[in-house]
């Protein structure tokens, strides 16, 4: 490429591992980037994408070393620069936007000081010029109160805003190249779409040349002109975005794409008349002392009801803080509910573990999100799996070994892993052991809390497949908690949407593909990026949320609702409304109104 702004050739990066050996983490990477182009580096954890991105700034994290190659930025050969010359490049010609803005902002300095710092360091503008430029950027990035937000401290603004402020910080010195390193990964999906939209606008307006690092193909499809697929520090495939998405050549790219768009796993195969395993009514729970009415000081869940039939999977979805994990803890008895009732099969299920019979304890099992904290690091796999077998079924000696072997087989793990410690297993293997421990009890219901969110897409997809098979084989009822609509829709027969602790929508999984929805579900559905370029532009901008809910409204979603009726929604609790598609929602709006007022997203799920 003759007019390339950036040219990378034969990049090698090495790192020193725990044993002090040198290992290559990026091997022979080369690419070119034209001015005004956006290039995506995509890969899973450990693929070397962040390492490559950082080396474009001539930077290697402690323990890593750029061992070879050339990085040519315009006329400058970055890897041959001295420390002082590198400082001159960083922030002025190449700028960086980090994954977690909350951590990358200095907590004790005002936002404006940090945003204009690069301009001050490099003397590209006077303080006054830099500040007015910053305000322009704040406006372009759709930040609220652009004139005043700079005077605040980082902990005084939201995560989505910080991420956009960080983009302003990167662009302040008008760099030739901007590196965006997973800038939306830490955000909720409804926040992500706004940040993406703001980034996209600024990049387009300014003709910015950018490298966009991500593990999420759907996000990259919105941002990038070209994609490089990385794995184990090597390039696997490179091409224009449409080509990578529509005609991937490398098998690894194909598996990534397959995992990114999970196919529904043939729901509805269970008999309609299957008896309910768990029935929950009017569940209210929270933290802190309860008032006279039994309402806890900090309520997390309010008046939630649902049932799960034998062999069925109920998906629970909502953004962080909506109470979905608390729900699993309440059902498991770890957090006794304040009000409501639970029935397990035919019998009432006491709210507190201490009052549950051993049989009841056996029938409900928990599987936690992060296998790293869910498995005791000092016990072997055999001990972890053997304990519930002994505890619930009195299995000892050879019988216990037999059960452990059977469980490993059930989750498709080799028997040889039995004497390993969790630290010696991969992420996917740990999650399988985590699952096997729940199965050891021979439960009727398993509660899965974000079981795939800590895993790479491909590994997570394999776990989902396994769970689906097990559900069919063993007739297990499953409560599947997730923040990811794709995942939930793919594995669940029924979906419950939680917002601020309330069940705003409950319906069949298939009904989630059909309008109308509760306005929050609608926002959620509309915010999940699709695997096609141009989706971001075609999706209507949701009403700017983030207006702080200063008072407690009758409908929790009122402050963010695009179709709220002032005077009603903020005063009266929303009624339960049955929709024609068979779902129930909590909303003041009639079905016809919702259909009419939120019409633009009918095609969103096609």
């Amino acid at each position: 490429m003759a007019d390339a702004l950036l040219q990378v050739e034969g990049l090698h990066v090495t790192a020193r591992n725990a044993e002090g050996e040198t290992v290559t983490i990026v091997r022979d990477v080369g690419f070119a980037l034209a001015r005004g182009e956006v290039l995506a580096l995509i890969g899973e954890s450990g693929s070397g994408k962040t390492t490559i991105a950082l080396s474009l700034l001539g930077y290697a994290r402690p323990g890593c070393r750029i061992a070879g190659g050339r990085i040519q930025l315009g006329e400058t050969e970055i890897l041959s620069l001295s420390a002082g010359e590198l400082r001159d490049i960083r922030g002025r010609r190449v700028a960086y936007v980090a994954q977690s803005a909350a951590a990358a902002f200095n907590p004790s300095r005002r936002i404006m000081d940090q945003v204009v710092e690069a301009a001050m360091i490099h003397g590209t503008a006077s303080r006054a010029e830099a500040e007015s430029e910053a305000v322009e950027l704040f406006r372009a990035l759709a930040l609220p109160e652009p004139f005043r937000i700079g005077a605040r401290y980082p902990h005084q603004v939201s995560g989505g805003q910080l991420q956009r402020l960080m983009a302003a910080m990167a662009l302040i010195a008008r760099p030739d190249l901007v590196i965006l390193d997973e800038p939306t990964t830490a955000l909720d999906v409804t926040t992500q779409i706004e940040v993406l939209r703001a980034f996209k606008n600024v990049v387009r307006q300014r003709g910015t040349t950018a490298v966009y690092v991500s593990h999420d193909l759907a996000v990259v499809a919105q941002m990038a002109d070209r994609i490089i697929v990385l794995r184990d520090g090597q390039m696997r495939e490179e091409g224009p975005t449409p080509q990578i998405l529509d005609a991937p050549a490398h098998p690894y790219t194909q598996s990534l794409l397959a995992a990114a768009a999970p196919r529904p796993r043939a729901p509805g195969s269970l008999p309609e008349a299957a008896p309910p395993v768990l029935r929950v009514e009017g569940l209210t729970a929270g933290y802190g002392p309860a008032d006279a009415g039994g309402m806890p000081l900090i309520p997390v869940l309010r008046d939630v009801g649902f049932e799960i039939r034998r062999g069925a999977a109920l998906g629970v979805i909502g953004e962080s803080g909506c109470g979905k994990s608390t729900l699993a803890r309440v059902v498991a008895g770890l957090l006794p509910m304040a009000r409501g009732s639970m029935r397990l099969g035919e019998e009432a299920l006491p709210p507190d573990i201490a009052r549950r019979t051993p049989d009841q304890l056996r029938r409900v099992q928990l599987v936690f999100q992060s296998a790293d904290t869910a498995l005791n690091p000092s016990r072997t796999v055999a001990q972890i799996l053997g304990r519930p077998a002994t505890f619930f079924h009195g299995a000892r000696g050879a019988e216990r070994d037999r059960r452990v072997a059977h469980l490993l087989e059930l989750v498709r793990l080799p028997k040889g892993l039995a004497d390993r410690l969790p630290g010696e297993l991969s992420g996917g293997q740990k999650q399988r052991v985590n699952l096997a421990r729940a199965l050891a009890a021979e439960p009727e219901l398993i509660l899965c809390d974000e079981v795939t969110s800590a895993l790479d897409t491909v590994v997570g997809a394999a776990i989902l497949d396994l769970m689906d098979e097990l559900r069919r084989e063993l007739g297990l009822a499953t409560m599947f908690i997730s923040h990811d609509l794709h995942t939930v829709r793919a594995v669940c027969d029924e979906v419950m949407v939680l917002y601020a602790g309330q069940r705003v929508e409950l319906g069949a999984g298939s009904a989630m593909a059909e309008a109308p929805w509760h306005p929050y579900t609608d926002l959620l559905v509309a915010s999940v990026p699709e695997l096609r370029p141009g989706w971001l532009e075609q999706t209507a901008a949701p009403r700017t949320p983030e207006a702080p809910a200063s008072r407690r409204s009758a409908c929790a979603f009122f402050p963010r609702c695009p179709v709220a009726i002032p005077g009603i929604c903020d005063r009266d609790p929303p009624p339960l409304r049955a929709l024609a598609k068979g779902s129930e929602i909590l909303c003041h709006r009639e079905e016809a109104e919702l259909l009419q007022m939120l019409p633009s997203r009918k095609e969103a799920l096609v």
Partner: protein
């Protein structure tokens, strides 16, 4: 409203400090008054007549219930009357009053020397972490904090007084007429105390700053093109002020332990020496009063450390 939240925390912390002091006084009194023997008997010796013992008991108020004696004692302390020495009958307040300025002078001289020195070494070691300089500082400070204070002090005597003959090994505060004399008298005790405190403070300062230098926002500053000085001074240090102030206050509390050894070794006429003598002669009123002074000083330093941490937290300062 915003200020009030911070103010409430500060007031709460002050109240907690006072409560601790009260509880400490209770503990000191309880330990020293739960003697297996009888103070009066012990003081008069085995040969004393029962009448004499009874009279002394009455005079010392030992016939009263424990809680009343505690209240009397506490009231006396608060009003500056700490009773009389069992050994020489002088008012404890006067004994302490004669010695306290000496100890305060020693502590102040040590603080003035050690704080700037320790901060300079600690911050520079953190700035050049991983270099030979840093490793040397780490090894040296680790060695100093892992040996007893008396070893440092005796080593100092050996080097400066015995071998080099620069300084006098004993201190006589009464004979200070000139700066030179002042230095000769104070150099050895201050030097010994400084060794221990500087080592402690350097380790804590370095750790606090390195903790901040590992933070993602420091990497961000580096990637904005900030040089090492800017990274440390305008990014890491503002966030390390709380931990460093904490480190300074806590290290100074080591002074309280160190001063006991150092005053004894150099025969320095301070309050710590007074207390050690009091312990040897089991002069309870003296020991109690000295212990309370040390505990109050300690609590004050810990309180100062906590207040620094509260006041330097941006999340608390700017709600």
């Amino acid at each position: 409203m915003i200020r009030n939240a911070l103010l409430r925390m500060v007031v709460a912390r002050l109240a907690l400090g006072l409560l601790s002091l009260l509880l400490v006084s209770l503990a000191v009194f309880a330990i020293t008054s739960l003697l297996p023997g009888d103070t009066a008997q012990e003081q008069l010796g085995q040969a004393a007549t029962p009448e004499a013992v009874a009279a002394l008991r009455l005079q010392l108020g030992l016939d009263q219930p424990g809680w009343l004696r505690y209240l009397h004692w506490l009231g006396g302390l608060v009003s500056g009357d700490a009773g009389r020495s069992l050994v020489n009958g002088q008012p404890v307040a006067a004994l302490i009053g004669a010695r306290l300025p000496n100890s305060l002078l020693l502590a102040a001289a040590t603080a003035v020397v050690s704080v700037p020195l320790a901060l300079a070494i600690g911050i520079s070691a953190a700035m050049w972490r991983g270099t030979a300089y840093d490793r040397g500082v780490s090894m040296l400070t680790l060695s100093i904090v892992s040996v007893p204070e008396f070893l440092v002090a005796t080593a100092a005597v050996l080097v400066f007084a015995v071998h080099l003959r620069w300084l006098s090994a004993l201190s006589y505060v009464s004979s200070i007429d000139s700066i030179g004399q002042f230095i000769r008298v104070f150099a050895m005790p201050v030097l010994s105390l400084c060794c221990v405190i500087v080592a402690q403070m350097v380790r804590m300062t370095r750790a606090a700053l390195i903790d901040q230098l590992r933070a993602p926002y420091v990497e961000m500053a580096v990637l904005k093109g900030a040089g090492p000085i800017r990274v440390v001074w305008s990014h890491a240090l503002p966030n390390a002020v709380g931990p460093i102030a904490n480190a300074v206050a806590l290290s100074l509390s080591y002074l309280l332990g160190g001063v006991i050894i150092v005053e004894t070794i150099f025969n320095y006429p301070g309050i710590a020496k007074l207390m050690v003598d009091g312990v040897s002669t089991r002069d309870m009123p003296l020991v109690q009063a000295c212990a309370m002074i040390f505990c109050a000083a300690y609590l004050f330093l810990v309180l100062a450390a906590d207040l620094c941490a509260i006041l330097s937290n941006p999340r608390l300062r700017h709600r």
